[in-house]
């Protein structure tokens, strides 16, 4: 953490946490925090004519861990395509080598996020058994603060307890596993479906029973919401729904969202939602097949707009060649059978699975064009931008380095139309979506809600990230956009957000003129629940190891301290 004083002077400040929208002002920094004022000897950073926002927060991104790395490993051509190396915005000497496009190396991941002014990234799926791997990668990722969500919804303990209706035991198990894996919260991926995949099956609807475990996806979702709120964790359950990616899946999506009805957030971290539904784009489709595959973003958002206790992120398709990867094992197998590209699968004993398939989102293929429109429509139909976050489900719908492009599309109808104009089947796509009729252009304030204040609050981190109020982390991004006079050429919006004019993290200047100038001080954030010991859960867990259902020793399972650098531990106290 940098000591000393600094002042960001004269920029257009955009801070939804304080409802500041473009006022010209200063941001004062001392000892890594934002403060009311600093002395006249503070280092001055000129932000005149530029916008000033808090460091951005990514609520859902696959950046570290076994499946991300399996994706890197299986795709040499992601580094070297058609005889050309893709090291992107690579740094000059003095920095670690950068490589990869859709699944960048850890060094490139840290540098690229920093260049875009991101300060915190949530790794969206950590298989508990492989948690040391996830932490090793987080350890090697420069600059950005990171946390990881262990996956729970296909975990044998969870399914056993919930089948018997044992919410408290489920909660105790969650507490133990968060501690053992240094995890942040409760991730659900294709509840029940991934467990079924261990036998080559799936659960496409919420009421399909999970083989052997005699429980349904709906029961798993409901039970984990109850357990999450019993513990009062900073984040809500983080749900990747069943039936992802299939035509006509939107009624299942709304049915799953409805499970949240009647629950109220119970926590001390300012979080209001009880369910975060992630990459909603993949779950908002109509049609019976690929021929009439269409956007149902409006129908889904009509429901989301009414329900205050739900947050969502978009999962925007960016029309790139990318790499899909998810703990939704059966989906990846299905996808492979559609595009016949190489397929990697990793089933993890007792816990989860993962699949990886390269995918080319081709703007000239109508379903891909519809997916592109669907993601953007979700945002354009949203009423509360503080509950709607920008993601690409990196790298599934596109690499995170395309966030600036997504912002461009959201802020400029002209930019959207320009992209539509390049599509071979644009008329067809227009008929299957709403995008062409939508005139809405999001404001910078709304973008700040979607990338700063909103996700920070959703994660229960609203007191440290996502705003510029005194006391918060001194994470400040300065972007070369004139609030009073936005460029008519929307490309300039993309350029401005791609490379921050300046990015300060923890009071240190990390990026200047789009180039990384410091490695900063990254943190690993995790949640430690303090609660009375639950002898039943203790016994159940140790039996799974001693009786050999697991193939590792329990002593070697928990992530050791040294693997997680600069820990920032969030304590949660649960009374007996």
């Amino acid at each position: 953490m940098a000591s000393g004083e600094m002042i960001v002077k004269g920029g257009f400040i955009i801070d939804p946490t304080r409802k500041i929208d473009g006022d010209v002002g200063d941001v004062a920094i001392k000892d890594g925090k934002i403060v009311d004022k600093v002395s006249s000897s503070a280092k001055v950073i000129d932000a005149k004519g530029k916008i000033v926002m808090a460091g951005a927060v990514d609520v859902h991104s696959h950046v570290a861990g076994p499946k991300v790395n399996a994706g890197r490993l299986m795709r040499p051509e992601d580094k070297f395509i058609s005889g050309v190396f893709r090291s992107g915005m690579a740094q000059k000497n003095g920095y670690r080598m950068e490589s990869g496009f859709s699944i960048p190396s850890v060094f490139k991941t840290g540098y690229d996020y920093a260049r875009m002014g991101y300060t915190f990234v949530m790794e969206a799926a950590m298989p508990p058994l492989l948690a040391p791997h996830t932490h090793e990668e987080i350890h090697d990722t420069p600059i950005i603060d990171e946390a990881a969500l262990p996956v729970f919804a296909n975990n044998w303990f969870v399914m056993e307890y919930l089948r018997k209706g044992e919410v408290e035991n489920t909660a105790s198990y969650i507490a133990w596993l968060l501690k053992a894996t240094k995890g942040y919260g409760v991730k659900l991926v294709n509840p029940g479906g991934t467990a079924a995949w261990a036998w080559g099956l799936n659960c496409l609807s919420l009421n399909d029973p999970v083989p052997y475990f005699e429980i349904t996806p709906a029961e798993i979702i409901k039970g984990l919401i109850e357990a999450n709120e019993y513990l009062g964790l900073p984040h809500s359950v983080h749900l990747h729904q069943n039936n992802l990616g299939n035509p006509g899946n939107y009624p299942d999506t709304i049915a799953a969202l409805k499970i949240a009805e009647g629950f109220k957030a119970r926590n001390k971290f300012g979080r209001e939602q009880v369910m975060h539904s992630t990459h909603l784009q993949f779950h908002s489709y109509g049609g019976e097949g690929w021929k009439d595959f269409c956007s149902k973003a409006k129908e889904v958002m009509d429901y989301v707009n009414k329900q205050k206790n739900i947050t969502i992120d978009l999962g925007c398709v960016t029309l790139d060649e990318t790499t899909t990867m998810t703990a939704d094992g059966p989906f990846e197998h299905h996808l492979h059978s559609l595009n016949h590209l190489k397929w990697t699968n990793v089933d993890v004993e007792m816990e989860t699975a993962a699949g990886i398939v390269p995918y080319i989102y081709d703007k000239n293929v109508t379903p891909n064009a519809v997916q592109w429109a669907t993601g953007l429509e979700l945002a354009l139909f949203a009423k509360d931008m503080n509950r709607t976050f920008i993601t690409t489900d990196h790298p599934n719908a596109g690499p995170f380095t395309r966030y600036p492009r997504v912002i461009k599309w959201l802020m400029s109808k002209k930019a959207r139309e320009a992209t539509i104009a390049t599509m071979k089947n644009s008329d067809k796509m227009i008929g299957l979506t709403n995008i062409h009729t939508m005139d809405r252009e999001l404001t910078l304030f709304e973008i700040a809600q979607m990338t700063r204040s909103g996700p920070a609050k959703c994660l229960g981190l609203g007191n440290v990230y996502g705003g510029l109020a005194p006391g918060m982390n001194a994470d400040v991004g300065i972007f070369d956009l004139n609030y009073k006079n936005l460029p008519s050429d929307a490309e300039k919006i993309e350029t401005a957000f791609q490379r921050a004019a300046c990015f300060i993290k923890g009071g240190e200047v990390i990026v200047r003129d789009g180039e990384v100038v410091s490695h900063g001080h990254k943190k690993t954030v995790w949640v430690k629940v303090k609660m009375p010991e639950n002898p039943q859960v203790t016994r159940d867990v140790s039996q799974a190891f001693t009786q050999g259902t697991y193939t590792v020793d329990i002593r070697n399972y928990p992530v050791r301290e040294y693997l997680a650098p600069h820990q920032s531990v969030i304590d949660v106290n649960v009374e007996a």
């Binding site: 570290a64 991300v68 790395n69 399996a70 890197r72 490993l73 299986m74 040499p76 992601d78 580094k79 070297f80 190396f85 090291s87 690579a90 000497n93 003095g94 670690r96 080598m97 490589s99 699944i103 960048p104 190396s105 060094f107 492989l130 040391p132 791997h133 090793e136 990668e137 350890h139 090697d140 501690k179 261990a198 036998w199 080559g200 059978s337 190489k342 397929w343 990697t344 699968n345 990793v346 089933d347 993890v348 004993e349 007792m350 490695h519 203790t538 050999g548 697991y550 193939t551 590792v552 020793d553 070697n556 928990p558 992530v559 050791r560 301290e561 040294y562 693997l563 650098p565 600069h566």
Partner: protein, 458 residues
Amino acid sequence: MPKLIKGVGCPYCGSSCDDIEVLVSDDETKILEVHNACIIGTNLFHHANDPTRPRLPRRRQPDGSMKEIPYDEAIDYMAKTMLAAKKPLVYGFGSTNCEGMSAVARIAEKSGAVLDNCATICHGPSFLAIFDNGYPSCTLGEAKNRADVVVFWGCNPMHAHPRHTSRYSIFPRGYFTQKGQMQRTVLCVDPRETDTAKLADHHLMLDQGHDYELFDAFRTVLRGFEIPDVVAGIPKETIKKSVEIMKNAKFCMIFFGMGCTHTDGRNHNIDAAISLTRDLNTHTKASIMAMRGHYNIAGPGQVWAWQFGFPYCIDLSKGTHAHMNPGETSSVDLAMRDEVDCFVNVGADAGAHFPIQPVQHLKKHPFITVDPNFNMASEISDLHIPVRIAGVDEPGVVYRMDNVPIQFRAVIKGLPGVPSDEELFNKVYERMCELTKTEPIWLAAKEDRRYPESEAVI
């Protein structure tokens, strides 16, 4: 009082058994007894007691003899030699922890080296197949808990992975396989009747080198087409019966080894095996796994993939980007083509395990070995730097053959003054930075490395 340490990981084969119990002397300097390990693992732990283990670097003298030198001098020599070389080759890592692999990457980047590991002469072709065709795999617990059909293709775990069959694949009683071996049908495909083949229910003794054709026959039968009467020496009926067994499995697990990677076609044999596994998944559940050789040989593949995007054969000489193309950037090809001018052998024995000709080529240039023990490479090196033994007197993360990270612990105290791989490489890196007048880049790594003795958390 001697101390019994439980849950110890075995630093020998890719099974990475972590149920070993080691009895160590009161002062934690001697290993007294080793329980649960196979004979190879047991010998490995006991070998760490060897009083002749090197404690100081040795530098070759003009008369051909070796002379002990201080570590600082060795570090200086290694830093200068690598910086001066046009293209150094850093190879090995069969017995190094991931912390060491991460640290060496910094040196390789700094000196514009090629970074390669033992996979290059072992399961490298499996990587090539994974690049081309993916890898539908699982953790070993899935095999143990579910697999009712197990296929060993070109591998011989009874010799190469002695406890694999009892811990994971043939004998253990898993959650859905309570009857253990009784519940499993075992197929073995091998040109010899190996000890693993003797354990199998069906042994397909194929003509050596024709695995690819046999895989193709399996796939053709699986799609309902006819095949010739005999393929690769195996009668059609045997092939059909084997395919039926695999297709009717609830969970079919295929393990493959050097019989696929060391023979004609190399990667294509595995590529075809992966295709077969994928095809089987339209009928049932099937999974495939490489029988990786060393306890942490999956480690460099993981560490370097997250750092550079490639698991092995990584040419960092351009400085701006990494380039990988086995056949060009692979150790043996680089050696045979005289494409490198400095060789660093780390935690492996290129002297014994490369064919002798590439060793002769590499020996034309400076040759450095970093290894806890004397071996063939150290005995032809210009410089041998001893380090601690990862998994014996040095803890760290290792990746089992199924890529499950296991946090190994140290069971005895390291020899005084002998650094870990990571410490050594960090010092070499610091020296390189001094020599080139550049700032070292540590990220979070160096300041945070400490290995607390952490016991069970439950």
